[in-house]
Symmetry: C2
Subunit: 338 residues, 2 copies
């Protein structure tokens, strides 16, 4: 088969590679129902994460099980399944504590921009649906594999409560689904920080009540103006830069919370400033596995439509164009037809 | 009267100064029942916080109200009262959210190593007891003004739950009372990190089940050994240095919490490391005012004896010797008889 590789900055190729096969008795092979490109894939694409050799890409997936190893018990051939970007055994102490992305046996998934995928620790990693979803639900199911679960974790880590005032830093797919998550958790006011009309529109559709276009210190000032100088209860930090992290911390009221899920790039938090901010800070790679059963139910019942973040659909052969469109912010998120 | 001033590193003087008087109608004047020296007073004493002019010292206090301003309603002359190291109105949004040390009108208290003290925002700041405590309870009441309330906040910020495994970094008065707080919150296992026999003994008396003498990376390794490689649920960081903060973060299991109350000195948290640690972080200047009513009740009912951290008592004239004894770690905490 062919699969997606990055060879260097802005050099994405869809090229021959061996078909995935069962390597361990706990593996499963799935045929993807669709693939996609993540905002975090743009870090290596833009040369911020260094690439030293051709590296396979893609960590979001859902599809049909086509083969299972001898020790796989919970997942059957023919089932529609979704997993997270980290494979996890779901039995170790960290998994039991709900932090499957810190699983003692975790394996990062990075070959999912391809028609077939090997999933390690299949019993722990994959969540099957009761029946295969109808085709129009597939984009939303795929979104659960990372961006929706990550937005949900951002809102949970930011301790969003019913009636809360919330700000969301970052208008990528994760930030937009953070808006949706905050709405589902009962936030009364959701301030989306965005400069892009398409994204502002989707943020409003997902539940944003206010849009702030300012960034950095100006963004903080604007949030303070909107909250009588108090700051918001919860901020979802969905970018991962120094500016976005400081914007998040200083927009939060004393005793409020920042949930951060933007993969940290060069961020340094001054202990002294943070001490006097009185802010709660929690985040990291979202333990999507914990949220999958609940979110799958919401998609199946058509309560949510996180698949709306896909505003560009391309055949997987054109994956390079999908990266380009996202890099140039012409697309929020690209769906790849396999 | 005379009061305590710092003139420079290791230069503490008890010298003439004007008697405090009502300056605003919301002020009260109290006659201290006892004074004391805080571990954080050692930062300027050791020259780490720069002193540019003679500066009054002391931020822990309890005593009898001797005068009140015209607008003071809740506090009466003759009452025994305790307040926190920040005066607060207890009515602003931050106070209502329970973060009185971030009060919009807060004033730092720094003249309490003296026989009399002016307390701003008396109605918000001071909590009167139903009746004056017996003299043997005064040290414990005084401990509530900062160290016990701060240890309590560390445990609360570290999300200590019944049955939890907890580590405490720092064996000063705050760390030791953090042990006591974790015990009161139902922790099943409390690991005190201490190298000093006197402090280890008191830690055990307060509820510590394990003592770890190693620090830094060795301390982290030891904590991991004691917890089957998992890390603890909660760490109370009661020092404020880079080493102690990293020790705290890396001793905590994914999903666990660090509560930090050591006044931050040169601490910088690497965003990337913190992202993958999956730790919750919260702290800052303890909102002691929030905890005073509950803790006063516990002292009055003799359920707790936080005054045990005072292992040296001196007449206030000898305050300089009290600093010296704490600096040289001959004393955990010095009580000053006024």
């Amino acid at each position: 088969m062919k699969g997606t590789f990055i060879h260097g900055p802005r050099d994405i190729r869809f090229e021959d590679r061996p078909d995935p096969k069962i390597e361990k008795p706990t593996d499963a092979i799935i045929k993807l129902s669709a693939g996609c490109i993540c905002g975090s894939d743009l870090w290596p694409y833009r040369g911020i994460n260094k690439i030293t050799q051709p590296t396979p890409m893609g960590h979001e997936y859902c599809g049909i099980v086509v083969e299972t190893g001898n020790e796989v018990k919970n997942v059957k051939k023919g089932q529609f399944v979704i997993g997270s970007f980290f494979a996890s055994d779901n039995t170790c102490p960290h998994c039991k504590n709900g932090y499957q992305t810190s699983c003692q046996h975790r394996e990062y998934m990075n070959q999912a921009q391809a028609p077939y995928l090997r999933v390690p620790l299949a019993d722990g990693t994959l969540v099957p649906t009761a029946e295969p979803p109808s085709p129009e639900l597939v984009p939303s199911m795929l979104a659960l594999s990372d961006v929706m679960g990550t937005g949900w974790f951002a809102a949970e880590a930011a301790n969003v409560k019913p009636g809360a005032t919330v700000a969301v830093v970052g208008d990528g797919a994760v930030g937009l689904l953070g808006v949706l998550s905050a709405k589902l958790m009962g936030a009364a006011r959701i301030i989306a920080m965005s400069r892009h009309e398409t994204r502002q529109k989707l943020a409003k559709e997902f539940g944003a009540t206010d849009i702030v276009t300012e960034r950095g210190d100006d963004g903080i000032t604007r949030i303070k103006e909107l909250t009588k100088g108090i700051g918001v209860d919860s901020v979802l930090e969905c970018v991962g830069t120094q500016e976005s992290m400081m914007q998040a911390i200083h927009s939060t009221r004393p005793g409020g919370s920042v949930g951060f899920v933007g993969v940290s790039h060069g961020v340094s938090i001054d202990g002294d400033q943070f001490f006097y901010s009185h802010v709660h800070l929690h985040g990291g790679p979202a333990p999507v596995r914990r949220f999958l059963p609940g979110l799958i139910g919401r998609v199946m019942r058509k309560e949510i439509n996180p698949g709306k973040v896909f505003d560009l659909t391309l055949p997987i052969e054109n994956v390079a164009e999908g990266y380009k469109a996202m890099d140039e912010r012409r697309a929020i998120k690209t769906l790849l037809k396999v």
